[in-house]
């Protein structure tokens, strides 16, 4: 692309660079030596906690001053400290919501130019060119709230390109997007001519776009550096062990069919929370009625339906995946199954066995406490479901509410199984993304619900967390439980898609209106 404005690609030099956040004891990055030549496109990898995001923030010049942390060594763009050149590097963050700044599309793109004191006429020329470059062809007064996730990320890239940076920094720009949205973003990135540093767990998709792979080591330094082929050929297995997604190597998660057992008539008693324990529920047979039945369900946002007439059966011993593009109502449908929201029309009905002891066959009418042992929900954003101040308390909430036996032993076992013991006293918000994800799943498993509902459980996770997570869901299902997962992740579908429920963009009026806005 001819970059709006004219700007040379930047040269990055890190020499012995490191950064320690003011609130942390250990540096996020230490002793980094790295040179990136102008125009190079680098995929930056590393296990969680290796300091990838910190390096990007450092390059973007937004780590702050001595109050925010301690810098060692030097990090320069074209020989000048990165912190002193705002606007030379443009950063796009993972969450599309976090990248949008202003309510109107054109203004959002213009924002960075204004901050760099670009003259008015030039601003609007750049706005038009940047939007062209990322393929967004909406009128400039389109409200940003009407954009899809993929469009928002492209908008963010346009906003950065309009500043004509020498360096484009992308921090997991496609983690929250569906397949098409992610492809849109990569097409936009392919058009740029700046130096590029992108952090993304899903390596395969970026391989055609980058000419170098750099892998950070958590303790400081590099695990590997070079052309993608060479790096993966040489260090593939080491990278895999470090949690990095290596192209072409699919994670393996064993699935074991449940052993036949005599069927037990009642709610399952408290059982081993993780994996098939000795008190596993009855092994399911196809003759058993489905645990949950959705009939003619309509779901939507606010009062208006985006999907109608959804029929689905959730069966014990089966892992079901719900797929489809962003915005078709997958999450709301899953939440209706989970009894967290009432369907707009139609009904969700629990089997007599699952509903035993409650006042209604409809899960959304159950008391919240009654959900705990029946249907557990893992939210897309783990932090939304944390309600206490420590990891240990967080795990104890559910067992206390259902008056489980030996609560403290149960919590200890969960901590151990999910490798959270060393964090038992930590505040949930301070955990890394992978740790938060493990904790959110553990809090749900703590009350041994029969049905698990998971909303995008694997998004943004490194390979290690991914494998653990898929293993937990597999163990739950193979022990006779049921799982319903909303996901965009094809690897997850391959391992856990015993059955797939695909939601296409629906030919409803509201939906076609939404389509129309995107022309």
């Amino acid at each position: 692309m001819s970059a709006p404005g004219t700007s040379r690609p930047a040269r990055i030099v890190a020499s012995g660079w490191g950064w320690r956040h003011a609130s942390r004891r250990h540096p996020a990055v230490a002793g980094l030596d790295l040179v990136i030549e102008p125009g190079e496109r680098v995929l930056l990898l590393g296990p969680s906690g290796a300091g990838k995001s910190t390096l990007l923030a450092g390059l973007a010049g937004i780590l702050g001053d001595t109050e925010d942390g301690v810098e060692t060594g030097a990090l320069t763009l074209d020989g000048v400290p990165a912190a002193h050149q705002r606007g030379r590097a443009g950063l796009v963050l993972q969450d599309p919501e976090a990248n949008t700044i202003l309510p109107v599309l054109g203004d959002d793109v213009a924002f960075g130019c204004e901050n760099l004191a670009v003259p008015r006429d030039e601003i609007w020329r750049r706005v038009t060119r940047s939007l062209d470059a990322v393929g967004l062809r909406h009128p400039l007064d389109r409200p940003t709230a009407h954009l899809s996730g993929g469009e928002r990320q492209r908008l963010a890239i346009a906003g950065v390109l309009a500043m004509s940076p020498g360096l484009l920094l992308l921090d997991e720009p496609t983690a929250n997007l569906d397949h098409d949205g992610a492809a849109e973003v990569r097409r936009a990135v392919a058009q740029t001519s700046t130096t590029l540093v992108v952090v993304d767990h899903r390596v395969d998709e970026w391989l055609g776009l980058v000419d170098r792979v750099v892998v950070l080591e958590p303790a400081g330094g590099l695990i590997a550096d070079g052309p993608p082929d060479a790096v993966f050929a040489r260090a593939g297995s080491a990278l895999e062990a470090a949690g990095v997604w290596v192209p072409g190597s699919r994670p393996h998660v064993p699935r074991t069919p449940p052993l036949p057992r005599p069927s037990s008539p009642d709610q399952p008693p408290p059982r081993s929370p993780v994996g098939p324990g000795p008190l596993s529920p009855a092994s399911p047979s196809p003759a058993d009625p489905p645990l949950l039945t959705a009939a003619g369900v309509a779901v939507g946002h606010g009062g208006s339906a985006v999907r109608e007439d959804l029929d689905l059966e959730v069966r014990a011993g089966e892992s079901l995946v719900v797929t489809g593009p962003n915005g078709v109502g997958k999450t709301t449908f899953a939440f209706a199954l989970a009894g967290l929201t009432a369907p707009l029309a139609g009904e969700v009905r629990a089997s007599a066995q699952l509903a035993r002891g409650t006042r209604s066959p409809h899960p959304h009418r159950w008391r919240a406490r009654q959900l705990l042992t029946r249907i557990g929900t893992v939210f897309q954003r783990p932090e939304h479901q944390f309600v206490t101040r420590s990891v240990r308390e967080e795990l104890a909430v559910g067992p206390r509410l259902v008056r489980a036996r030996e609560q403290s032993a149960l919590v200890d076992e969960l901590l151990e199984r999910l490798r959270l013991t060393h964090l038992a006293q930590a505040h949930p918000y301070t955990l890394s993304g992978g740790e938060q994800r493990r904790l959110s799943v553990a809090t749900v498993l703590a009350t041994a619900p029969r049905v698990l509902v998971l909303d995008e459980p694997t998004f943004g996770q490194d390979r290690t967390t991914w494998t653990e997570l898929a293993g937990l869901v597999a163990a739950h299902v193979d022990a006779g439980g049921a799982a319903v997962s909303v996901t965009h992740d094809e690897d997850y579908v391959r391992v856990l898609g015993d059955r797939r429920f695909h939601l296409e963009a629906a030919p409803l009026e509201s939906q076609s209106a939404a389509q129309e806005v995107r022309v």
């Binding site: 937004i62 705002r86 606007g87 443009g90 950063l91 963050l93 969450d95 919501e97 976090a98 990248n99 949008t100 700044i101 202003l102 309510p103 109107v104 203004d107 213009a110 924002f111 960075g112 130019c113 204004e114 901050n115 760099l116 004191a117 670009v118 003259p119 008015r120 601003i123 609007w124 706005v127 940003t144 709230a145 906003g159 950065v160 500043m163 939440f335 989970a338 967290l340 929201t341 008391r367 919240a368 406490r369 959900l371 705990l372 557990g376 929900t377 939210f379 954003r381 932090e383 939304h384 479901q385 309600v387 909430v397 559910g398 509410l401 259902v402 918000y429 809090t443 749900v444 009350t447």
Partner: protein
């Protein structure tokens, strides 16, 4: 009201409302409302538009009149008494006056201010009123975050149900939810600040993509608003019907 600077509309609304807020007689209010309806028709603002922008007020005005009718200080002939209710000449007059006054102040103000584009208002506040860019843009970005927080609130409430915590509608539960929402809002705010900084916000002198300036048209709007208020109050004074807020009894 396109083509008029939002800042001028705000100033006009204040200048217009002040004289009318100090009086309670029916003549000044009725005159003002009448003049506006004529002006709106002349400007091509349809009754449908007016109703669309002011409907909550159209419901509220008769209600405020009704409370005057039933509970105002009795005066003149008393028509009806029942428990605390007394309908007298005075209360009938006040009820009418209040209803018309609420409409006279509310209708033109809402017609002018509803539908102001927050973006244009921000432009004007920063460039004309010279408020700090940090304040203005922060507020503008917050407008967008309000919608996001509504979605966060829904998620948090659902998450509390999923964690088994929403069975008792106790104040403690409500407080916990409010606190969780506050924490989320702060995190969103921090993220927003980071995104703004990443786009070089706060690095010094900045330009504005859209110029906001005051024109003759804006002066006309402000003058017209003030003129209508003064004409209406003048008419009441001339006819001897003017009644200041708080002054008891009829003229």
């Amino acid at each position: 009201m396109t083509g008029v600077n939002p800042l001028a509309l705000c100033v006009a609304a204040v200048l217009y409302s002040l004289p009318l807020l100090t009086s309670v007689d029916i003549v000044s209010a009725g005159a003002a409302l009448g003049i506006w309806l004529v002006l709106f028709t002349a400007l091509g603002i349809t009754p449908a538009t007016i109703v669309k922008r002011t409907w909550p007020l159209l419901l509220a005005a008769p209600l405020s009149g009704l409370s005057m009718l039933l509970y105002a200080e009795p005066g003149g002939t008393v028509h009806l008494t029942w428990w605390l209710v007394t309908v007298s000449d005075n209360s009938i007059e006040l009820a009418l006056a209040i209803t018309v006054r609420v409409l006279a102040i509310g209708v033109p103000t809402l017609v002018a201010l509803v539908g102001i584009d927050p973006t244009r208002l921000a432009d004007a506040l920063a460039q004309i009123a010279r408020l700090p860019a940090r304040f203005v843009l922060g507020a503008l970005a917050a407008v967008r975050l309000a919608g996001v927080l509504a979605a966060d609130h829904r998620s948090l409430a659902q998450a509390r149900r999923a964690r088994g915590l929403s069975d008792t509608r106790s104040p403690a539960g409500g407080l916990a939810l409010a606190f969780a929402l506050l924490v989320t809002a702060m995190r969103r705010g921090t993220m927003l600040a980071t995104a703004m900084e990443a786009r070089a916000f706060g690095s010094g002198e900045r330009t504005w993509a859209r110029e906001s300036r005051l024109t003759r048209r804006d002066a006309v709007v402000v003058a017209a608003a003030l003129g209508v208020a003064l004409a209406a109050v003048g008419l009441a004074l001339a006819t001897g019907t003017f009644r200041l807020v708080g002054s008891g009894g009829g003229a």
